[in-house]
Assembly symmetry: C2
DNA sequence: CTGCATCCTATAGGATACTG
DNA sequence: CAGTATCCTATAGGATGCAG
């Protein structure tokens, strides 16, 4: 196999690894939800407030999926009324580099957009 | 403002930054598409082959969006038949940390899944 | 409070056929 | 080759109401 094909193969491997990651982390809420829980265990309503915009139905579904993927643990306390808290597992920490990268990029990109808007205004 | 609220505010900021990032990078194909182009300029059909599974309709749409967001530049050459090539812009490099993190996690997670499968089999 | 049930809309994304 | 047009399905996600 020549060099070009080797390069291609490495590239395809990268594409597939990124695809694999996105397959698990897709959707609008999973990563933000994990960030919300990074502050420590929280209850359903607290999370809903932090995420601001998510419906109970969707939050419930997302939490279940994250539980299945072993990122989140659900704990029920026999208080009256019942209290349920969600917390991150150890495995969820493996996502930290992704979240950090997204967070930094999000901050940086927003600044960039604002800058572009300003220069566009001066062109109008 | 007490310490707890300060912590919350920082957390909300993080959530929003991640939301902002995902808003731009959402979907199944945008990041894999950028990885595909990281090998250098490529033509429509080449990209489609690399991504393996994307339809022309979707690829076309994704490329347009990435162009609008200044991650990709489209170049047309007056050959017969016409040749079109797509390449990454300098700004797209700002996504490298995100892609690296996703790539590494994807590789790692896949190994993890395989390990779990094996131990599950021995339980059956 | 912690959700689930129901209903609904919008969007992502795929299949196929076709044009210059 | 480089797409576009048309049609279609599946899924994400929202609105509202209700139960334990």
């Amino acid at each position: 196999m020549d060099k070009k094909n080797l390069t291609s193969k490495a590239c395809i491997d990268s594409i597939n690894a990124v695809k694999d990651a996105l397959y698990v982390l897709n959707g609008k809420w999973k990563l933000p939800l994990i960030v919300a829980l990074s502050n420590g265990p929280q209850r359903f309503k607290e999370i809903q407030r932090s995420l601001d915009g998510i419906t109970a139905r969707v939050l419930s579904k997302e939490l279940r999926e994250l539980e299945l993927n072993l990122f989140v643990e659900r704990k029920v306390f026999n208080t009256v009324p019942v209290t349920v808290s969600y917390e991150l597992t150890g495995y969820s920490q493996s996502l930290d580099p992704i979240i950090e990268a997204l967070r930094n990029w999000g901050i940086q990109h927003k600044k960039q957009i604002v800058k572009e808007r300003k220069s566009n205004i001066s062109l109008v």
